[in-house]
């Protein structure tokens, strides 16, 4: 099988198998759609609400991407401070872990109250809060585990710390960074939807999910979940694409 065909065909085949199993499980158990909707129930819903799906998907997507962007900037900055300074690492770790252990669902009402009415900002903030932690940790580990010889090679020539960072520390950390970014992508979607569902403000896929719940339209709720999965996969592959450009060297030939 050729490379491209395998890369595209295999995932599609697997998705098709899962959808078929889902359809079969609902059919064989004779489940009514208010207990478990089947994929075939979702297609009409996608069509019926196609305009809302487009608008709300876009709203959810850009907020998630914005939250993720913020997480990249802040997470990398925190990771750099923790990677280069032992004191900062020891001081910040318990704080970060503690903050990360707080369920973000409980933070949503607080944030909604603090920044009342600023829906976009609130949503982005939650997406950011839930997704920056893995980025910060991976960048700090990448930097703090840099073998001293790498530093010495450039330092012995009189290079500054900034040069060492740009030429060696940063590129060497990229594989870890992208690994964390893949985790962060899916987390950011959770964050966006937490805000959209727990503190409804009528925007994004979360709002569509909520309206499905209110009107007891269970297939619609499932359709929203499926849409979220699709968006998550799409953003994930954007990250994979970027990873291939910037850290493709880290991928070894299979064998």
């Amino acid at each position: 099988m050729s490379g491209t065909l395998r890369k595209v065909g295999v995932p599609i085949l697997f998705i098709a198998i899962v959808l078929a199993l889902w359809e079969w499980a609902v059919w064989v158990n004779d489940l009514p759609d208010y207990r478990m909707a089947s994929p075939s129930d979702l297609v009409p819903k996608f069509w019926q609400f196609r305009e809302l799906f487009l608008i709300y998907s876009w709203q959810t997507l850009w907020r998630t991407a914005a939250g993720l962007g913020l997480a990249v900037v802040v997470g990398t900055a925190i990771g750099m401070v923790m990677g280069f300074s032992r004191v900062a690492r020891e001081g910040l770790y318990p704080l970060l872990v503690g903050f990360n252990a707080i369920p973000k669902a409980t933070v949503v009402p607080i944030v909604a109250l603090i920044f009342v009415g600023r829906h976009d900002f609130n949503t982005i903030l939650i997406a950011f809060m839930i997704s920056f932690f893995p980025i910060a940790v991976s960048v700090s580990i990448g930097l703090s585990t840099l073998e001293p010889e790498y530093r010495d090679i450039l330092r012995s020539l009189g290079a500054s710390n900034l040069t060492i960072f740009w030429k060696i520390a940063l590129p060497k950390t990229l594989p870890e960074f992208f690994g964390a970014l893949k985790v962060a992508v899916t987390l950011a979607f959770i964050g966006t939807n937490l805000m959209e569902i727990v503190s409804p403000h009528g925007r994004g896929l979360g709002a569509l999910f909520d309206s499905g719940r209110i009107s007891a339209d269970y297939p619609l709720m499932f359709a929203v979940l499926l849409m979220l999965a699709i968006l998550g996969i799409a953003l994930f592959y954007v990250v994979v694409f970027l990873e291939r450009i910037f850290a493709g060297w880290a991928e070894r030939a299979p064998g």
């Binding site: 010495d152 020539l157 009189g158």
Partner: protein, 280 residues
Amino acid sequence: MTDLTIELREVSHAYRTAAGKLPVLDNLSIKVPKNSFCAVVGPSGCGKSTLTRLVSGLMIPDEGQVWLSNHQVTSPRPTVGMAFQNPVLLEWRTILQNVLLPMEIVKTKMTKDEQMARARHLLDLVGLTGFEDKRPSELSGGMRQRASLCRSLIHRPEVLILDEPFGALDAFTREDLWCTMHDLRAEEPFTCLLITHDLRESVFLADQVIVLSGRPAHAQHILNVDIPAPRTLDDLYTPKAVEMLATLRHEIQVAQGRSVAEPAAKPAAHARGPIPGAMG
């Protein structure tokens, strides 16, 4: 004086640890004439790597002075090239880009084309022609170390500091690289300071071998290796070389505190020589 490239004058140094001061070097004096090759051997943990960091200016000694070509070393100098046991090639760069790395740091009069030509020439000397555009991960350990050597020489350093660069390689690859070192120095002379655990390596490569005592280290013994150039691996199996190796081995054992200081016993006629790396 003028023809000394590396000179350590009564250098003492201690590390500050939680348990207090840990002296590593004690009144160490070393003189390496221009374009000669000096090997430093000694028991594990005696401060050999500290020595490389002092000579390269990565560290400043507590007492005493380090001089490179009549300049006192107070900070890193771009006239130094370094290579370590770990070749530390940058995985995201091609071999050629790796070799050129120092040129991005050091001020140079060489044009880009000249740099490129020099990099290719060095790679050719070490037998890496055809691998310029490969990634380090596609090369074997010995080839990586060859590329690392090219990188340490690209900016025409006056002094090359080698910290056990061949330590992690298998015996045959190591001997290959020893010969490569001779080829490189025949092509363009430079002063070399080699830290090693391998006594055969030190005798084969160096003009003088310095045996460091146990910690805190001073120069316990200096052996002048008067094997004429060009040297071949066969030179290691002459009675004279075997005798030198026996002397070094004895001195190492003294440094380790396993033997008292007295002249080394004459090796038997059929001696295979000391076991290399036995001190490692």
